[in-house]
């Protein structure tokens, strides 16, 4: 599964730590998701999509 978290974060110019704080996870988790080493749960995916104001489909795509 691919994702655009890094791109969206760059557009908003926020750090991994800021994003992690905003959605209540650790920076390691954001790092693992951005590097496509960890697939987040639906709950976390929805939190991310709500934060960036995009749909889950825009953030995550199947390979």
């Amino acid at each position: 599964m691919k994702n655009n978290i890094r791109v969206e974060r760059a557009i908003l110019r926020i750090s991994q730590q800021d994003l992690a704080n905003a959605i209540g996870v650790s920076r390691q988790t954001i790092f693992a998701i951005e590097n496509e080493k960890f697939i987040p749960s639906t709950e976390l995916a929805l939190k991310l999509s709500a934060y960036f104001g995009k749909s889950v489909n825009d953030l995550f795509q199947l390979d």
Partner: protein
């Protein structure tokens, strides 16, 4: 960075059926051997049956544990992780309780005291309390890998049927207990080393005639120190990280899988060792040094002494978890 999406490849579902049927057959062999065949003395062949039943039975059960359900999907994986967590928690609790109460407490307050005081000790006889004794027996039962594996298989079936929920309700202690746990563990290890040194140079137990209070205090310290170490280990292992989220829970569960596989494999190794010794005794080899089983038994006993001690494995688990998280943090810092 390690790929945390990778899952353990499970065997096809057919192996679960084969594993369970084979385990049932081996269990029946074991029952027949221990009830019927043991009566016939002079025959050694049934010892092979016992060996096969023990070793193969446990191996087949392990195969059944790591086989897919009929419809293996994401939900079943969640159920599987939940069942694994509950099984390991039961294992740790049963080990802790039976080791501390059933073994150490019993040992330090009965055998040593009574032997030391030549039968005049006010020992606590565990078997005088049948309910406690039975409870400890039942709890102690889960220490053995085959029972733990059976519990895991049954839990997977039950949780799959009743639904374990997708929201992960953490059973872990708050993070502050982790620090307390490390302190308790460190202090108890230092104190254990001090008592070992004292014991090396001064035989406290010889003073029972003059200073009974000191001997009693020494025995109680010997009892309390392992209890402290156990409590410390369990607090370290069973408390949350500073920011416990789903990623950390995921790593935790992956480590638990490794923990259980190591435990089960060592258990098979131990059964092979026991069976080997049993066979050796039966076939009465005159030269023990030349017998392969001797070396095998020795190696496996040493391994078991150091590796199968659950708190030991638990400390390794806690350290590996710490290492994985700090590596991950370092990598993410580098990228930052």
């Amino acid at each position: 960075m390690r790929d945390y999406k990778k899952q353990l490849t499970l065997l096809p579902h057919m192996w679960q059926v084969v594993g369970l049927v084979a385990f049932a057959v081996m269990f029946a062999c074991e029952v027949i051997q221990s009830t019927v065949l043991k009566q016939y003395e002079g025959e050694n062949w049934y010892a092979y049956l016992e060996m096969a039943a023990l070793v193969l039975g446990n191996s087949f059960l392990l195969v059944a544990c790591f086989s897919q359900e009929r419809a293996e999907d994401e939900y079943v994986t969640t159920v599987r992780y939940r069942a694994l967590t509950i099984s390991v928690m039961i294992l740790i609790v049963s080990c802790g309780i039976t080791e501390i109460i059933g073994w150490r407490f019993h040992r330090f307050t009965t055998l040593q005291t009574i032997t030391m005081m030549k039968g005049e000790g006010d020992g606590f006889m565990l078997w005088d309390y049948p309910v406690l004794y039975s409870l400890l027996g039942i709890l102690g039962y889960f220490r053995y890998a085959p029972n733990l594996e059976l519990l895991y298989i049954v839990l997977v079936k039950i949780l799959k049927r009743i639904g374990c929920g997708t929201v992960y309700s953490s059973l872990l202690l708050p993070n502050r207990y982790k620090k307390t746990g490390w302190w308790l563990l460190g202090v108890s290890i230092v104190l254990v080393l001090v008592t070992i040194v004292i014991n090396k140079y001064v035989n406290v137990l010889c003073w029972y005639g003059k200073m009974l209070w000191l001997v009693k205090l020494y025995l109680w310290v010997c009892l309390v120190l392992p209890l402290m170490a156990y409590t410390g280990v369990f607090m370290v292992c069973l408390s949350r990280e500073q920011q416990e989220d789903e990623f950390i829970r995921h790593i935790r569960v992956r480590l638990l899988v490794v923990f259980v596989i190591a435990y089960a494999l060592l258990s098979i190794f131990e059964e092979l060792n026991l069976a080997g010794r049993h066979l050796y005794r039966l076939i009465e080899q005159p030269t023990i040094e030349n017998h392969g089983y001797y070396l095998y038994s020795h190696i496996s006993r040493q391994l078991l002494l150091w590796l199968m001690w659950i708190p030991g494995i638990s400390v390794v688990y806690a350290l590996v978890l710490r290492k994985v998280l700090s590596n991950n943090l370092k990598e993410s810092n580098d990228e930052k």
